[in-house]
């Protein structure tokens, strides 16, 4: 907890000193920058953690500012005003969540389209604020109301701003240590992987967006009371981009970065605007330089300096805790394909695939390149919804569900090229995987799930030859390819799925590593008694592992039988004639 309490109390102390040291007017001035800083902190949270860049954050800032102005003008009594504030904030959160959830549904990226939508929304908001004179006062704005609670904008209102800054900062610092933010960062890092681990990423992104909107709205409410006037500039495109610039310059990865950016740029701007005609040029140049050379902004530069003086303490690994039971590991069940078809554009990839596996055992999938092996797995996990037929797992339909629902059915999947969270440590990767299928909502807001362990994962980590145990605090980006294969295998099996889909798990592995991997696969199947479906090119591995072999050719099942029977099948021999293995 010290990592939250110490910086927050330093911040509080520093800000409380400002009026004493520099007078009320200076505090008033800083107050405005702090209010912008709060809104920028919301952007920093969203952009720095989930990778979503909001270009229209002034929409929430402005709507809350207008609502506050109306409340202060037309509603009597602090209690009624605060009640209204809660209602408005709730409304803004709900709208922001709905917008983002609708837009992100069915997607696995945060491309520029979302940023452009937020931009269009804030432009529409600004225009409506200008036109709807009856509601907003038009261009000249709403003014002529008292400050919230009768506080003096030049005096004690500053302390309310400080309270808000400290509360928001503490909340963000606290969140940064929790699984919730780890999951949010995983969205930015590798969204398709997070979906395959069962996380509904569109909901996560919508929650993060709504949270940042809430922070912007809080700042907007303070702004209305602090300034005594709200005009369309408070809901405008210019303010939106300004807030993004403050965030970028201050540093989006650190909780205090945007705050620092807002205060420094604000102060420097106020000082230099009238005395230094090239101020705007310098600010623009500095901004371009930050984007090019220091994407982490001032926050990162100062942080690096700080850690040069006071070396970073080695990252302490979380305490191992017994994890709750996974919801993915239901009773084993057979997987059945009924005439499954898959077309992408005019290309027919699967042409009526039909087979039924046993509930338990290892099925090897072979076939020449382009036979549709990986597409077969994609139809099971929902990455490529079939255009015909049905897929059943036991008696449950597994068709038409988005990828994040696959794990809930008990299906885990390892991809061909190791897909892990590359910007994170091994321990963080494993923590996310351990939460897959196990965590409930409240678990994301407490630290203990970061140390979750289960016998299955321990068994993998405790295997002497598996290289991960010693690498828990290392960033995944620094690991060799083979180690990443083991990491992804450990992550995929952490939820103990009843169906494990493996796409060439031994690709890129040395001979010894291949032996180890086949041992791990065999052991996983034996321990869980479930089904493993494995695409593999190496016939020696297929022979050694498979209970049954599925041969795909040109999008159809050519044969589905024991290894020996398949090998003796003349149709299979015809396809593989001239082939190497």
């Amino acid at each position: 907890m010290a990592s939250v309490l110490l910086p927050v109390s330093l911040l509080l102390g520093g800000l409380l000193l400002v009026p004493q040291l520099f007078g009320d007017f200076f505090a008033y001035q800083i107050g405005l920058y702090l209010i912008y800083g709060i809104a920028a902190q919301g952007i920093g949270f969203l952009w720095g953690r989930t990778g979503i860049l909001p270009l229209g954050q002034a929409l929430f800032f402005g709507v809350a500012a207008y609502a506050t102005a109306h409340a202060l003008r037309d509603v009597d009594g602090l209690a009624a005003q605060l009640g209204l504030a809660v209602l408005v904030l709730g409304g803004i959160v709900a709208v922001a969540f709905a917008i983002a959830a609708l837009i992100f549904r069915g997607r696995s990226d945060s491309g520029p389209y979302f940023s452009l939508i937020t931009l269009a929304l804030v432009m529409a908001g600004e225009q409506i604020a200008n036109t709807a004179t009856g509601l907003t006062g038009g261009f000249n704005g709403l003014s002529g109301y008292d400050s919230l609670g009768g506080l003096d904008p030049f005096g004690n209102f500053y302390y309310l701003v400080v309270a808000a800054v400290v509360a928001v900062s503490a909340l963000l610092l606290w969140l940064d240590r929790l699984p919730a933010v780890l999951i949010a960062r995983a969205v930015a890092d590798n969204e398709p992987r997070l979906q395959l681990l069962g996380f509904p990423t569109h909901v996560i992104k919508a929650l993060a967006f709504a949270f940042s909107a809430l922070i912007a709205a809080l700042a907007g409410g303070l702004f209305a009371s602090h300034q005594g006037i709200v005009t369309p500039t408070s809901i405008g495109f210019a303010l939106s981009t300004e807030l993004v610039i403050l965030t970028a310059v201050g540093g989006r990865f650190h909780v205090f970065g945007p705050l620092l950016g807002a205060v420094l740029v604000g102060l420097a701007s106020a000082e230099l605007r009238d005395s230094f005609p090239y101020w705007e040029i310098c600010l623009a140049l500095a901004f371009v330089l930050v984007v090019l050379k220091a994407p982490g902004g001032l926050g990162e530069i100062l942080g690096r300096l700080y850690h040069r003086i006071l070396p970073r303490k080695p990252c302490k690994l979380p305490e191992p805790v017994q994890a709750p039971v996974s919801r993915a590991g239901e009773a084993p069940a057979p997987l059945r394909f009924d005439d499954v078809e898959l077309r992408v554009g005019v290309v027919r990839i699967l042409n009526g695939v039909r087979f039924e596996t046993p509930a338990s055992g290892i099925v090897g999938v072979i076939g020449p390149n382009g036979a549709g092996k990986t597409s077969l797995l994609n139809t099971i996990t929902g990455n490529l919804p079939p255009t015909g037929g049905r897929i059943l797992l036991g008696d449950r339909r597994a068709v038409g569900l988005p990828p994040h629902r696959a794990l809930g059915l008990g299906i885990g999947r390892k991809l061909q090229v190791p897909s892990v969270f590359f910007s994170m440590s091994v321990a963080e990767n494993l923590a996310i995987a351990m939460m897959a299928g196990r965590a409930r909502w409240r678990d994301y807001l407490r630290p203990s799930p970061l140390g979750w362990r289960a016998p299955g994962l321990d068994a993998v980590l405790d295997t002497p030859a598996v290289p991960l145990r010693a690498e828990l605090d290392r960033p995944v980006g620094a690991l060799p390819q083979g180690h990443r294969q083991f990491l992804e295998f450990a992550m995929t099996t952490a939820a103990e799925p009843r169906v494990l889909l493996l796409d060439e798990p031994c690709a890129g592995l040395s001979h010894d590593e291949t032996t180890l991997m086949t041992d791990l696969v065999r052991r996983f199947q034996a321990d869980t008694g479930g089904l493993v479906i494995m695409i593999e090119h190496d016939m020696a591995i297929v022979e050694a592992l498979s209970d049954k072999v599925l041969v795909l050719h040109q999008g159809r099942v050519l044969a589905f039988d024991s290894y020996d029977a398949v090998r003796a099948d003349p149709a299979v021999q015809a396809v593989y004639a001239g082939g190497t293995k």
Binding site: L116, L121, M123, V288, L292
Partner: protein, 282 residues
Amino acid sequence: MSSVLVLNLVWQVGTLALIALGLAIVFGQLRIMNMAHGEFVMIGAYAPVITAALGLPGWLQLPVCVITVGAVALLIERTVIRHLYGRMFDSLLATWGISILLREAVELIFGRGYQSVAVPVPGTLYLLGADYPAYRVVVIAGIAAGFAALAWWNARSKVAGRIKAMVGNPDLARAIGINTGRLSAASFVFGCTTAGLAGLILAPTVRIEPMMGLDYLIRSFFALVVGGLGSLEGLGLGTAIIAGTQSLFGAALSQTHGYLAVLFISILFLWLKPNGIRSSSR
């Protein structure tokens, strides 16, 4: 529909397509979200101001425009943009900063005041039963001819394919002998120069001042996302939808409604068809 409405629509679509063309190259092919695109239109519109200030003859406006805009674009590509390939959000932010720099630079040189450029082809023509500005008619014809030539070249040339190959897989493109650095720089400069040409052409019909670029940027972006990236037909469709919405709503209701309708349609497309109107599904 009256004939003037049709001509206005053609004019709006044509000029927007010309402005968006450069953005389509820079955003569509290089994946650079160039927020300074409007500033290249602005610099192009200043070309007649430059020639007038230097006492140069009018026919030098075109070379002055191409050289000025091209040089600025090349400078920016070499110093900033080349670090940003593959960093889409960063390109958006950095070019936003560049747009401020370009505005301030033009303001330092020419001042903040409005400039005016005389219409090279003055007067109106009696066309389809109504008076229509003669200069607009000439420009519409020129743009139509230009796009026809571009479509012809696009169908034959390998350059577009090379650019796509380069963006899709720069390593592979380098391996097969494409000079990616030079090709990217050339594409960026070409895209910006078309914007500058659009500015030169529009100059006699619009206001000219350092802040004028923003008007063109947003509409071009929306036209691109509606039409989808990567094809001339998409560009045409996108500009037709954006300019048509503004024109028709503006004529039928009010300009405010037209503006809000453009935003609304853009949001719908970005939401439901982020890859443009011609993509089969999302």
